[in-house]
């Protein structure tokens, strides 16, 4: 079997390849190096950490502290600086340590990055990538565990990427860096440690193309980010019960590959959407609204959405486990759309 690496390693590799390929690519964020300015580290070109999740590990060592920049804690200015650098010729990859801190940097994301091209009549390009870890599952509580890609998807002018595997993470990140529009790149924290096959070289996965992660004929499961893994688990269990599920990973929420999703639904006539966002105005709702409109006559059952509940993320482990959509939740939703309760695990 070929090389297996974690999502963190895959992302790290993508960043290094991007930086080697194009010297305009720079990295900035809190602790992306760690210890900048400390003589005892700088003299030996040692980084203190390489990112809170180690995604930028070794970057400063290879590319120098000119291109890999620790920042003060000031999210709006970090992203805003990325916007200004992008508009004037660099291609920054900015790390926001948790997507929750969109609370501080939404202006730079929504009012600056997303709107410059349009409000300046097409004369500005903002080739910026903002990386944001997201999601619940590791006991960090309400302010460090949200899933906010739906919010960002609502903003015209932004592209939104949510990879579901190490392979996709690398190829999508390289595509995001090559892209000339601002891309918000959501990284599921719960996938960081997941291992998968990843080629060593440079490759890109086009933004706006979904992938069928598992072909099937009885029901379509559209799943986003880490939920793809859960959907695949559910599909295995469903297969044992004689239900053949097709798992579709949109890979990017903006642009959204409606065609692949619609083609799948045309085949299966049933749709479940799995999304770790809270339910209201979520990506799941968005996809459901589109599909019911465009594939109305193909649907044999209502589209079911599997979301986190309409609550903040609880800290307590058993509550947090209940909060995040599980394979069982998915199976229950499938049972409803195929109208077969017997498949629900007891």
């Amino acid at each position: 079997m070929s090389r297996q690496i974690t999502t963190v390693q895959a992302l790290n590799e993508a960043i290094k390849l991007a930086m080697r390929a194009d010297e305009r690519v720079i990295v900035m964020g809190e602790d992306v190096v760690g210890g900048t300015g400390l003589p005892h580290l700088e003299e030996q070109n040692i980084e203190a950490v390489g990112g809170a999740f180690r995604v930028t590990k070794g970057c400063s060592v290879e590319f120098g502290r000119e291109r890999v920049l620790d920042t003060p804690i000031s999210e709006n200015t970090i992203v805003g600086t990325g916007v200004g650098a992008a508009i004037t010729g660099l291609r920054p990859i900015v790390e926001v340590m948790f997507n929750d801190f969109l609370g501080y940097c939404l202006d730079a994301v929504m009012n600056q990055a997303a709107k410059f091209r349009y409000m300046y009549g097409g004369k500005a390009n903002v080739p910026l990538v903002v990386r944001m870890p997201f999601g619940a599952g590791y006991g960090a509580g309400a302010q460090h565990s949200q899933t906010l890609y739906s919010m960002v998807t609502s903003v015209p002018g932004l592209k939104v990427v949510v990879p579901s595997s190490p392979y996709d993470a690398k190829g999508l990140l390289l595509a995001a860096v090559e892209d000339n529009d601002p891309v918000i790149f959501f990284e599921s924290i719960s996938l960081y440690g997941l291992k998968g096959e990843v080629p060593e070289g440079y490759y890109t996965i086009p933004l706006g193309k979904a992938e069928i992660k598992r072909a099937g004929s009885d029901v379509t499961i559209v799943a986003i980010g880490n939920m793809v893994q859960r959907a695949l688990q559910a599909a295995e269990q469903l297969a044992a019960k004689g239900i053949d599920a097709e798992v579709v990973d949109p890979r990017t929420l903006s642009p959204l590959d409606e065609d692949t999703i619609l083609a799948s639904v045309e085949k299966t006539n049933r749709l479940v959407i799995v999304d770790e966002s809270n339910p209201r105005c979520s990506a799941a709702a968005d996809i459901a609204a589109i599909v019911q409109e465009k594939a109305f006559d193909n649907l044999d059952a209502p589209i079911k959405r599997v979301n986190a509940p309409h609550t903040p993320v609880p800290f307590s482990k058993p509550l947090e486990d209940l909060y995040t959509p599980s394979a069982e939740n998915i199976i229950r939703a499938v049972a409803e759309v195929v109208n077969d309760e017997s498949i629900i695990p007891v």
């Binding site: 720079i26 600086t81 600056q112 009549g121 500005a124 390009n125 002018g157």
Partner: protein
């Protein structure tokens, strides 16, 4: 220094060419704003605008040091900055009217005038919005060693916004070639700076970032030229950012229809005094025999024509095609 010496030194500050440029630009901005006020009132332009008449000295004294590779970020009160940074009056005015010939194809409007080819990264409708962007432009200049300097214009109101603090701190620790030029016109909309800002002088805040901070008379274009010029020089030499507070006043209110009841009678008359920046510069150039009255009135006349033509250009230009609603959102999608 003796009085004669001062006068000589003063007279040497500005070359003949610079003097003409500065005078021309100040009058251009003033006439442009007057046309904007007229066009807004009579409906030929957009429904509202924040004009910068009265504050010309800051934009012009600053941009007199900048070349096309240098950058500025501007504000909701940005017409003057755009003109001083080399913007074309026709396309600026057409933008104000939402026309296809506008600098943003009519999609931006008064709040979003920009011309990237001239280093004008754009007016920003978000108070404080340009400050982090300026850091980014500064970072590009620093990393590419382009030698470019970025000037971030912002108001007294913006100085209380969190990004002011963040941007100055970042520019300071990275020694970015950015000059923060505050136009303190005493009000943020209808709120008095003396109430909203805890610092006695806004430039006092520079000490918190270990950078030079100065408060100057922003109605005196020569003082702006000198002081901001030093800061730009510093930035260009890799010595990092500065904060310059320019005390000035706006002739209009926040917008064009603001009755300005917060101003005292004295303040309402300020533009009739010697503090009015164009009058001030006129006496300066006259005193130092830099421009004759005749030269100035020739310039005035030619600008009168240019601005009138710009307004007609705006009025006669077509609106964007309906399909333009959907373009320019993305490079590709």
């Amino acid at each position: 220094m003796s009085n004669t010496q001062t006068q000589q030194t003063q007279a040497n500050i500005l070359s003949a060419e610079k003097t003409r440029w500065i005078y021309r630009k100040m009058v251009e901005i003033r006439k442009f704003e007057e046309a904007v006020i007229k066009g807004t009132r009579n409906g030929s332009l957009g429904p509202f605008a924040h004009t910068s008449d009265g504050q010309e000295a800051v934009a012009v004294g600053t941009c007199a040091h900048l070349n096309e590779k240098d950058y500025i970020t501007s504000t909701h009160r940005g017409h003057g900055h755009s003109i001083a940074k080399g913007g074309d009056l026709n396309t600026l005015m057409a933008e104000m009217a939402g026309k296809a010939t506008g600098c943003d194809k009519g999609k931006g409007g008064s709040l979003h005038l920009a011309d990237l080819t001239k280093g004008n990264i754009g007016a920003n409708g978000v108070v404080g919005g340009g400050l982090p962007i300026a850091c980014g432009a500064g970072l590009t200049a620093k990393l590419t060693k382009s030698g470019a300097v970025t000037v971030a214009f912002f108001g007294d109101g913006a100085n209380n916004q969190g990004v002011f603090h963040e941007a100055l701190n970042l520019a300071a620790i990275w020694k970015l070639p950015v000059v923060f030029v505050c136009e303190n016109n005493k009000y943020g909309e209808y709120t008095w700076n003396g109430y909203a800002t805890a610092a006695t002088k806004i430039s006092d805040r520079a000490a918190g970032y270990n950078i030079p901070g100065k408060t100057i008379n922003g109605n005196d274009v020569v003082e702006v030229y000198q002081t901001v010029g030093e800061a730009i020089e510093r930035a260009r030499n890799g010595e990092g950012p500065s904060l310059i507070e320019c005390e000035t006043f706006r002739i209009q209110g926040h917008g064009i229809s603001d009755p300005q009841i917060y101003k005292t009678e004295e303040e309402k008359q300020l533009h009739l005094t010697d503090e009015e920046c164009i009058k001030k510069f006129k006496s300066y150039v006259t005193k130092h025999q830099l421009l004759s009255d005749k030269e100035m009135s020739e310039i005035d006349q030619s600008i009168e024509d240019t601005v009138e033509k710009a307004l007609q250009f705006a009025i006669n230009s077509p609106y964007p095609d309906a399909k333009e609603l959907y373009t320019d959102v993305y490079v590709s999608y």
